[in-house]
Symmetry: C2
Subunit: 111 residues, 2 copies
Amino acid sequence: MNKKIKDKYELHAQVLKALSHSTRLFIVNELARNEKCVCELQELIEDDISTISKHLSILKQAGIIEDRKEGLRVYYRLRLKCLPMFLSCVENIIIEKTKMQFELLNLSSKQ
Amino acid sequence: MNKKIKDKYELHAQVLKALSHSTRLFIVNELARNEKCVCELQELIEDDISTISKHLSILKQAGIIEDRKEGLRVYYRLRLKCLPMFLSCVENIIIEKTKMQFELLNLSSKQ
DNA sequence: TGGCTATTTTGCTATTATATCAAGTAGTCA
DNA sequence: TGACTACTTGATATAATAGCAAAATAGCCA
């Protein structure tokens, strides 16, 4: 694979990597509804706040979310509007995969 | 975050993790056009064949691709038809992000 | 059967990602 | 100014992943 092509896919992989974590997916889904401050996310997730802050910085640096400051609070919102559609595609993958496993089970029980 | 929700996002994260690698994204894009055997992919990628085989098994186990055997060769194809759409969404993220960085550069040079 | 080709699996080391705690920054308000 | 709240960053220990090479498996054909 030539370097130019590899670099292009490297960029794509970085975005996907940023989304490859259950907490970060949860965050993205929450922010798809409306913006939230770190403290609101912390209440929902119940992890150490520094862990959540770090997840947010990973999403931000990937260009997936952006922030704005209001007094003491930092509000985050989704930058990528096509993300919910994209996640429903992932949902399809999971459903398909589960079906496949189910069919496999059926086949093996018939033997 | 309650366990049920966490588990759901964990499943999604696994699919995204499988896609979070430049070689695997390349593979998926190649297979989006038509099925290919491992040896054909190896020619294009030029990595150790055992490395490519491992990438393929990661994509397969995530439900993203499937395989069929023909003689000595194993042909892989895309299982997830919505994937190209989904990747164009990632492309948008990258374009947006690049624009943002460009604007930042412009702003700072005006000072 | 034995030798050949295509692919997968295993064992290994190096690299990268994650979680946590402690310390640091930034904005508010008395 | 100093205490307080909301958040970020740094250090570090632990866990997951990548890539290579050697060994194993599977199908073909003489």
